[in-house]
Amino acid sequence: MMIKYIISRIMQSIIVLIGVTLVTFILVNVVPGDAVSLMLAKRTDQATMDRIRHELGFDRPYTEQYLRFLGNAVRGDFGNSYFEKTPVTEMILRGLKYTVRIALWALLLALALGLGAGIVSAYFHNSLLDRVIMFFSTLGISAPVFWLALLFQIFFGLKLKVLPISGVDKPGSFILPVLTLGITNAASIARISRTSLLEIISQDYIRTAKAKGAGELRVVFKHVLKNAAIPIVTFAGLVVRGLLGGSMLVETVFSIPGFGSLMVSSILTRDIPLMQGCVVYGATIFVLINLLVDLAYSALDPRVRLVKET
């Protein structure tokens, strides 16, 4: 049963990915910015440009170009970057090394801080502590990532001189990027978890558990958290995606050569193989996260997969 569900979700994901490659291919061919003239900075004659265009296969029909791109993409082969002349996959893996590291730590921070604050807020519902936490979480949600990043750089790097302002190779380089991404997302998680916990706390079975004499902590962790998990997991999935998106800004501000900044520069320089590679890899990661979130649902709540099957 579970296997059937997983297979159907994987099939859906594949269709989404094919759609992504098609859209990427169309966009690349529509935006102004001819790659060949950019590559050669138009310092050469038309005949040479035509020859290079031919060698790169740009003069073939679009359908043929797309199918060849799709065929190579399936094998993870996006060709070489026009400017770096390095295989695109190698460059993307190099960038992901930093991005994933930052995203994972930021996720951990966001979950720990957000869930913790959410639980405390819900538990001390309507108290002063609850209001203070909610005030700061509203502030956290409203603060743009790059603005927070700049504030941290100025405060911790320039004024206090306790953490590196930018780069990746000094001790503690990752702290500020992780704090920036972690805090903004923790704020959202705190609010979501508070709301869903409050909803559960008022349910009959919680009152029953309390009436039966179960300790407060046991009630919170065993009964409340477990039942509030679905919206929180959904949101955590969103956070991971948000982290990958936010990493573009954070990586630019903190000068981190990650996946986000690679993608931005590929677009700015119209490095088509790199651009296509980034989009397809990025989309694959998103689709995989979605898949994992969906599978987590069905593990947490059997109703999800049963409903799908009827």
Binding site: M39, L40, R43, T48, G157
Partner: protein
């Protein structure tokens, strides 16, 4: 409490992993200089395939062209025994390489390396972005680039140290051209070496590659066998960062120098007691001009172009907007380039006469024009000012912004009505400036100036070897371009500015990014 503890634990763990791989420098006398700069276009060290600034600035530490250029613009033999001899007909140059010049891998530089470097740039399968000018200059180069010849017939290797280069036609700027950094000599193996430019990069320069992380960092260390004698610094580091981050890193003392492009920031540093002495000006040979599309209405009318040119208040732009950090232009050629006319009168700002000219051109109600810029252009504020100021002369201007790649594409395709051209020469020869408006070059800047007399005189300028006569030819060309035909309206000549740590001595950055000559005072 638990959360706080978890947080502290997480941060501690990150500190630990962030610190991995960092080695504490064993401090030698020479020391290290760190340059903070944007490296987003620095994925490859091979400057044959880029025009971006950072890869060039790094290559200037590691590789060398045959001929060098000093801070005052004088040419000198760098990899040569002496300046090459030129044949009577001005076509053949005979070179003799300096003996004992070593590449970083220990091998000796020979004539074969020179020929192989040119052939690498013209490899039909992997054409250099700088190939265009070589194919028009050197005999047989175009055939080789087209795959019709096995080697460049115009470059002849006599022996290990001697070789000749034969040109298509005599060219007075050829030696200047050879001094451009993209003409650096690589070892012959570079053409076929795996990972050349990304993992390996070898030259004859004073510093050699130690570590390269594309788009992020490059570390170069002193080459002790350098043919010009070992330099002082132990190492030179380029670190990727945006302008804002670089300023913070500089103020925190973490980097030693960075370029500042924004005029407002430069002047705020100049007014800052703590940092005003850190601002260093680098004179540039360049011009910022308003360039028109002469195929589009209303710019097809010379009177309209003249009206726009005299509606520009150059004094105000330089004094108010640039806070005096540039020079108002009166010609396309900047001071310091052969043919610059010291005695020429300034452009007179005259919005009333501009209105009159527009009337004469058949636009009694003035004109509506569109200027195009990019989201990263450092000159957009000039356009914004002009959009307001032009109203005085009945010129209503709107500004459209594109991203850099989109802009280059529409410019190359001749679709830009008007834009601010920034032209800074790495060669410093007048031909480098004036040939921009020749046929068919002018179409690549969406300008379409076509004047056969202009082109013919430009050719003459290339073959004229008498300096006085040559200067006169370019003086006339400039006058024709900017005062008769008004193909473009020069606005000002820019300078470059850097924030430089006070401990760095001996820095001359004109004509070459000479970080290799720097010394630390402590």
């Amino acid at each position: 409490m638990a959360i706080a503890l978890l947080l502290i634990f997480a941060l501690a763990a990150m500190t630990a992993c962030g610190g991995a791989g960092k080695k504490e420098g064993t401090k030698k006398t020479g020391g290290t200089v760190t340059f903070g700069t944007a490296m987003d276009q620095f994925g490859n060290m091979d400057i044959h395939y880029t025009t971006a600034a950072a890869p060039f600035q790094a290559a200037m530490q590691m590789t060398e062209p045959l001929i060098g250029k000093d801070p005052d613009g004088n040419l000198f033999p760098l990899l040569l025994d002496e300046m090459p001899e030129v044949s009577e007909d001005g076509l053949t140059y005979s070179f003799k390489l300096k003996s004992g010049v070593k590449f970083h891998d220990g091998s000796l530089l020979d004539s074969g390396d020179v020929k192989a470097t040119f052939e690498k740039m013209l490899n039909p399968k992997n054409l250099s972005v700088h190939a265009g000018s070589i194919t028009t200059l050197i005999k047989g180069a175009a055939e080789y680039a087209d795959g019709k010849a096995d080697s460049i017939s115009g470059i002849e290797v006599k022996d290990d140290q001697n070789f000749t280069i034969t040109l298509v036609s005599p060219n007075a700027s050829f030696l200047n051209f050879l001094s451009a950094w993209q003409m650096s000599i690589y070892p012959a193996e570079a053409a076929t070496m795996d990972g050349w430019g990304t993992k390996v990069f070898i030259g004859t320069g004073p510093y050699k590659l130690k570590e390269f992380e594309p788009n992020s960092k490059i570390v170069m260390e002193r080459f002790d066998d350098y043919h010009g004698g070992a330099k002082k610094l132990d190492s030179i580091v380029f670190q990727n960062m945006t302008q804002n981050t670089a300023l913070m890193e500089f103020e925190a003392g973490n980097i030693d120098l960075t370029e500042v492009k924004d005029t407002a920031i430069i002047s705020s540093y100049l007014e800052n007691e703590e940092f005003k002495d850190n601002i260093v000006m680098i004179e540039q040979l360049g011009t910022i001009a308003l360039s028109f599309n002469m195929k589009m209405k209303p710019f097809d009318n010379p009177k309209v172009r003249e009206a726009i040119s005299i509606a520009i208040d150059r004094e105000t732009i330089v004094n108010k907007l640039l806070k005096g950090l540039g020079t108002p232009a009166k010609s396309f050629l900047p001071k310091g380039v052969l043919g610059y006319d010291e005695d020429l009168e300034e452009f007179k700002y005259d919005p009333e006469r501009a209105k009159q000219l527009l009337k004469e051109a058949g636009y009694p109600d003035g004109i509506d024009v569109e200027a195009i810029t990019t989201d990263t252009a450092a000159t957009t504020f000039i356009l914004q000012y002009l959009a307001e100021a032009f109203k005085e002369a009945n010129i209503r201007m709107t500004i459209q912004t594109y991203d850099a790649a989109g802009f280059t594409d529409i410019r190359n395709n001749g679709k830009i009505p008007m834009f601010i051209l920034t032209w800074v020469s790495d060669v410093g020869d007048p031909n480098d400036f004036m040939s921009l408006y020749s046929t068919p070059m002018s179409q690549f800047i969406s300008n379409f100036y076509e004047n056969s007399e202009y082109d013919a005189q430009l050719q003459k300028g290339l073959t004229e070897t008498d300096l006085e006569k040559r200067a006169e030819l370019y003086r006339q060309l400039d006058y024709k371009l900017t005062r008769t035909d008004y193909a473009c309206a020069p606005i000002y000549h820019p300078n470059a500015f850097m924030l430089v740590s006070k401990k760095i001595k001996n820095l001359r950055m004109e004509n070459c990014f000479r970080l290799f000559d720097a010394e630390l005072s402590e």
